[in-house]
């Protein structure tokens, strides 16, 4: 028995040794220590919850242009935030990249991100798309708007998110599950605009208009609109973009919501420098580069999103959708009110 235990211990140790090797030699061909001296290339460590194929090509370009290597670990955002908090001042991470302002706000709220005073970032990222203390910065803008099927909906019928609670949409509306942070942020913003009571009416109106139980993803929702299960739904535009990229004549159409009132609900994917970053300057350099004119176009286009940097124009397929008015409410509100929104959705039975 003891022999077996010893054998197991040895195996585990060797396995750990292997892991340490792969970790240090990960993305590039050159062997370098993480803490580089003047002659060796420098390395910035990133925790990212963005899908790897969307971000990796940009990191490669960054390394080409600046000579700074990027090592990144991909995981679900809540896990990354918990990991940062647990690692505290031992963290290897310089930068946290996640989607949704709610997550960025939470990381900021827990003291995991440090304020950055950067003229470059203040120039390229509008104030409403940053943390209150400049502890995080939006890098790409995503709009959560409506999609409809033109055979069954006259676009003149459509107007606002609030209007989708009207009984004339009964049995025609599709929503994604309220578990998804995108919907939590949307409802948080509704609370900000209308107060709890009115928002509760709106969301319970949505629930009674549902054609079917909420979907687990925006993609499925769009397919349901296409197939005729429902007529209208609320989704992030890039999911429709992906469908259109596969099929030019995709029958589901985008409608910009709330153009005459609060503007369409927007959110960001964004980044911040961690409080205990070993190399905060490198982290800042990376974020500045990602927000710069040179990187913004590609960063947004890879996921069919919009640039946050107002001087950079949207590229590719999304230009078809034209310009739109966006909700100017600071995004940190979405984070502050997220828990409130979740509770509200629980109360009205939005699953």
């Amino acid at each position: 028995m003891k022999k077996l235990i010893a054998l197991c211990a040895v195996l585990m140790l060797t396995a750990c040794g292997q892991q340490a090797d792969t970790q240090s030699s990960a993305p590039s061909e050159t062997e370098t220590a993480p803490n580089a001296s003047a002659s060796e290339p420098q390395t910035v460590v990133v925790y990212s919850s963005r899908q790897p194929h969307l971000i990796e090509p940009l990191f490669e370009r960054f390394t080409e242009e600046t000579g700074i290597r990027v090592e990144f670990s991909n995981d679900n955002e809540a896990a990354l935030i918990e990991r940062l908090a647990a690692e505290d001042d031992n963290t290897p991470a310089d930068v946290l990249i996640t989607v949704d302002a709610g997550n960025l706000w939470q990381a900021g709220e827990r003291g995991l991100l440090q304020p950055i005073d950067s003229a470059a970032l203040n120039g390229s990222v509008p104030a409403s798309l940053r943390g209150t203390d400049n502890e995080w910065f939006g890098l790409s803008l995503r709009a959560r708007s409506m999609v409809y099927h033109p055979d069954r909906v006259d676009p003149a019928e459509l107007s606002t998110y609030e209007d989708l609670a009207d009984p004339r949409w009964e049995g025609r509306l599709c929503l994604r599950t309220s578990r998804k942070v995108y919907n939590q942020s949307l409802v948080a913003m509704l609370i900000e605009h209308h107060g709890t009571e009115r928002t509760e009416e709106i969301v319970s109106g949505w629930v009674s208009n549902l054609a079917t139980t909420p979907f687990s993803s925006d993609t499925l929702l769009i397919e349901a609109v296409e197939a005729g299960q429902c007529d209208v739904g609320i989704v992030n535009t890039y999911y429709l973009g992906r469908k259109m990229a596969d099929d030019e004549n995709y029958p589901v159409i985008l409608f910009w919501a709330n153009q005459d009132s609060t503007g369409v609900h927007v959110n960001v994917s964004g980044a911040g420098v961690t409080t205990h970053a070993p190399n905060p300057e490198l982290g800042q350099t990376l974020i500045e580069w990602l927000a710069s004119d040179t990187a913004q176009g590609e960063f947004a286009e890879r996921n069919l999103e919009f640039p946050v940097n107002p001087t950079v124009e949207a590229q590719g397929l999304v230009r078809k959708w034209g310009a739109f008015e966006q909700d100017q409410t600071p995004l940190s509100i979405a984070g502050q009110r997220q828990a409130e929104a979740v509770r509200l959705m629980d109360r009205v039975g939005y699953r």
Binding site: M1, K3, L4, I5, C8, L11, M12, A15, C16, Q18, Q19, A20, T22, Q23, A26, Q51, P52, E71, S73, N74, D75, N76, A78, A79, E82, R83, A86, E87, D88, N90, P92, Q106, T177, R179, V181, Q184, T212, T213, P214, F215, S216, S217, D218, T219, L220, E223, A224, E226, A227, G228, Q229, Y239, Q338, A339, V342, R343, D346, R347, R351
Partner: protein
């Protein structure tokens, strides 16, 4: 022997208990008003439906395979275990893709008849995930009940029949009670898996404790309340375990020489029904999912042999092999600590194996918190290392190894050891030359089971794996999260293929003549 294991396993359990010292009044009020009644209702429903489902299908199929004779029996038998190679979340996305409104089946009905029958529509509803879970977990009951029927069940049935009792009465009065321990053990495994499932229930949108834990943690930003929810989930598990212990009775000592008995020869309609029933189940549980995966994966299939995929496969296999080894060693410790022991020690053993029902995410947080704290005190770097993942596997799956080991342990008779000692064989040689060969089949079964489980495990791997250490399950997670099912089909296909190898070995080891 139990102590080191208890110390390891107790760690996350302790975290669950400690969470109650951090009361979350407001969140808790909200949860108990709006979520808890529904969650408890859903959990009860899962117990009843999945429990009944796996029992009826598992026992029924096992009875046919072990005691009857009908066309195709020999090759149907191993295929019936194969659904074990599919992770439940893969079943879930395949069947939702096939059955929901936009899927091919309902579209076909609309095209032909202008609408789908209500029962087809009902199959894409949230509760239909219960059927998916039955499909994914019935093989546990099947495997165990089949072995039990084969050893002795057949002879007892023959004896009953020779006394003039009808076949059904004999089955219910003689065979079934004999198989009860196996049935209960299989149901317990299936229900624990059901309670810990996150992937399948979230794809179907069926609210359970695991989804609520997620929601409380990520939506309400309240980890403490989430962990408190997890500890309530553990209460359900405790109920299960107690129920199992009470129903197990005396484990049959498994006489080595089984009386030869004849299979019941089914003829005509009955034989046809038996073959068709098993064939139908295999169609739903293996053939259709495989075809659907192949259709989705076809355009991307060359990607399977690309470098990055090979690396992912390598990672999956490394984690699986090392993890399974750790699990088996844990199982041996459990066995050594509890074999022929008092009830109280047995209970300690059960506590050590409790991890099976802790949702992977919660287990992962507990390990991460513990390891990072340890790192801060000692300056080690355990938190980001492989050890953390392996520990998670050990805690989560040690129960899987314990079962098969317990089943073979009864073969170690004290006489054998005494004889060996009287011949002057040293202690260690006795272990190696006498005991090891006796429990070897159980060891192998335990290892193979653990291997399949680890390859399918997703949430703990996701959170605890070292930098860039992707596995197939991780790939699938990244792609299914946004409904990109076609893209998820390639890693799923590879995972099912890899998982099938240990499953097939497992079946071959237990072929019944």
């Amino acid at each position: 022997m139990l102590l080191p294991l208890l110390a390891l396993v107790g760690l996350p359990l302790l975290m669950l208990v400690l969470a109650w010292f951090d009361p979350q009044g407001e969140t808790w009020d909200h949860l108990s008003t709006w979520l808890l009644p529904r969650l408890i209702g859903h959990t009860a429903l899962m117990f009843v439906v999945v429990g009944t489902g796996v029992a009826v299908i598992g026992v029924g199929m096992a009875w046919l395979s072990a005691c009857c004779e009908y066309p195709g029996r020999r090759w149907l038998d191993p295929l019936l275990v194969l659904p074990l190679a599919f992770p439940p979340y893969v079943f879930a996305f395949i069947y939702l893709g096939l059955l929901d409104f936009a899927g091919p089946i309902q579209s076909g009905f609309r095209e032909l008849f202008g609408g789908s029958p209500a029962f087809v529509e009902a199959l894409s509803r949230p509760w239909a995930v219960l059927l998916i879970l039955i499909l994914a977990f019935y093989p546990y009951v099947y495997l165990l009940a089949r072995a039990s029927f084969a050893s002795g069940g057949r002879a007892a049935f023959e004896a009953g029949r020779s006394l003039g009792v009808g076949p059904f009465a004999t089955f219910f009065k003689v065979s079934l009670p004999m198989a009860r321990p196996a049935l209960v053990a299989g149901m317990t495994l299936a229900l624990m898996e059901t309670l810990a499932d996150f992937g399948a229930v979230s794809i179907f949108g069926f609210d359970t404790f695991t989804t609520a834990i997620y929601r409380t943690w990520f939506g309400l930003f309240n980890l403490s309340a989430a962990v408190q929810l997890a500890s309530i989930l553990m209460l359900f598990v405790l109920v299960l375990i107690v129920a199992e212990r009470f129903n197990r009775g005396e484990r049959a000592t498994g006489s080595e020489k089984q009386p030869r008995a004849h299979r019941i020869q089914l003829r005509g309609v009955r034989a046809g029904l038996a073959t068709a029933g098993q064939l139908g189940l295999i169609l739903i549980g293996v053939v259709v999912p495989l075809i659907q995966l192949l259709i989705w994966a076809w355009p991307e299939l060359p990607a399977v042999i690309e470098g990055s995929m090979l690396r992912v496969i390598g990672n999956t296999m490394t984690l699986g092999l090392v993890g399974a080894l750790a699990v088996v060693i844990g199982g041996l410790l459990l066995l050594a600590g509890t074999h022929k022991s008092s009830r109280r020690v047995m209970l300690l053993g059960e506590v050590s194996a409790l991890g099976y029902a802790i949702p992977g995410t919660v287990l992962a947080v507990a390990i991460m918190l513990a390891f990072t704290r340890l790192d801060q005190w000692t300056g080690s770097a355990l938190a980001g290392g492989l050890l953390a993942v392996i520990l998670a596997y050990l805690i989560r799956f040690v129960r899987v190894a314990w079962g098969p080991l317990e089943a073979v342990a009864c073969k170690i008779r004290p006489e054998y050891g005494e004889v060996a000692r009287s011949l002057g064989v040293s202690r260690w040689r006795r272990y190696l030359r006498v005991n090891l060969p006796l429990i070897w089949p159980g060891l192998l079964t335990a290892f193979l089971l653990a291997l399949v489980e680890i390859a399918k495990e997703m949430p703990a791997t996701l959170m605890l794996r070292p930098f860039n250490w992707d596995t197939l399950a991780i790939r699938i997670y990244e792609l299914t999260a946004e409904g990109q099912w076609q893209m998820a089909a390639v890693p799923s296909l590879v995972l099912v293929g890899l998982g099938a190898i240990p499953v097939i070995l497992l079946v071959r080891r237990s072929v019944i003549r």
